[in-house]
Symmetry: C2
Subunit: 177 residues, 2 copies
DNA sequence: TATTGTTATACTCTATAACTATA
DNA sequence: TATAGTTATAGAGTATAACAATA
């Protein structure tokens, strides 16, 4: 409160250096919650991903990507299963699939064992796109987070996030048990 | 592949128990990326938060919450500074502020030292709401994540996320450093 | 000429309800 | 009656461009 000249506007106490001693002053607002960081990081990483996927036919919006990759990885997957995995509702999934089909990325048939259910699989075009998307995302994720967290810490972060995600699926989707 | 009867649809390999040995089979899709978990967790935690904030005047959508809390915590903050902190653009911030003012939560004056700039502060009503929102969010975050990650692991996760967030602010906003 | 803030537009995501067809 | 999928609507977030006022 006495030195450390203002770096940006002079109105905020400057943030402490990440490696430094004290906490960042502004984080007392919601800094003891996981959700706060999740929300801000999601905004930043998804925005950056949108840019790097630009022109790839599933570009705008992060919502469709996981669905395409899941269909690619699990031929015959059903819409309701997609909804479970992605934590979206069936209505959303239906429109996403409609978009995939309109772009010639996915095919839909009636399931053999249940006339109500649909059977989804990627086309050759969809498979090619899925491969490119997967490569792009993997590269983007590394490039985006590398300057922020690296080495062992990166692995620890992934492990912790994965545990939370798995707990979430078990709780919300009833998958796996 | 031989036992572990299908719990949901029978089409997926069941997920491994979070504490168990192997990785969850489906996570090889994007499981080595931080962004994948961030995106899914954000969807789930924000959806849950929306429900718990229902009726609180900033209910729908997570976008306004941090802005209100920042104005509450930093009287006199300017829109451009809000944009930096929340990683949103100025146009968005302008509409959010407009909404706050329309609801009598925030007041806006012209800044003393710069006629272009605005000077934001919460009203008594806005301050009261900010307090309630902060309490609600803190409680929600604990309730939501407690079953998923607890104790030391929770603290480690927060520390890692915070480090990434601070790095992000330094990189994108030009704040601090 | 650059910056602060605003307005306007278009697209995407999300929630919700209602509907069909099958089981 | 319950489930799988679809359709439709409304509200909210985001990106982008264009603009006025001031520095």
């Amino acid at each position: 409160m006495d030195d450390a000249g203002p770096a940006h506007s002079g109105r905020f106490t400057p943030l402490a250096a990440p490696g430094g001693g004290g906490d960042a002053p502004d984080l007392d607002i919601l800094g003891d919650t996981i959700g706060f960081y999740i929300r801000v990081l999601d905004l930043a990483v998804s925005r950056d991903l949108d840019r790097r996927l630009d022109g790839l036919e599933v570009a705008r919006g992060k919502g469709k990507i996981t669905s395409l990759l899941l269909i690619d990885r699990h031929p015959g997957i059903r819409p309701s299963e997609l909804a479970d995995r992605t934590l979206k509702d069936r209505a959303q999934i239906a429109r996403i699939i409609e978009g995939f089909i309109a772009h010639g990325l996915v095919e839909r048939r009636t399931a053999d064992d249940d006339s109500r259910a649909a059977d989804l699989r990627v086309t050759a075009k969809g498979a090619a796109l899925a491969t490119r998307v997967r490569q792009t995302i993997t590269a983007q994720d590394r490039a985006f987070f590398a300057p922020l967290i690296a080495g062992e810490d990166r692995q620890r972060l992934i492990a912790l996030l994965r545990r939370a995600y798995l707990g979430l699926l078990a709780r919300e989707g009833g998958i796996g048990a």
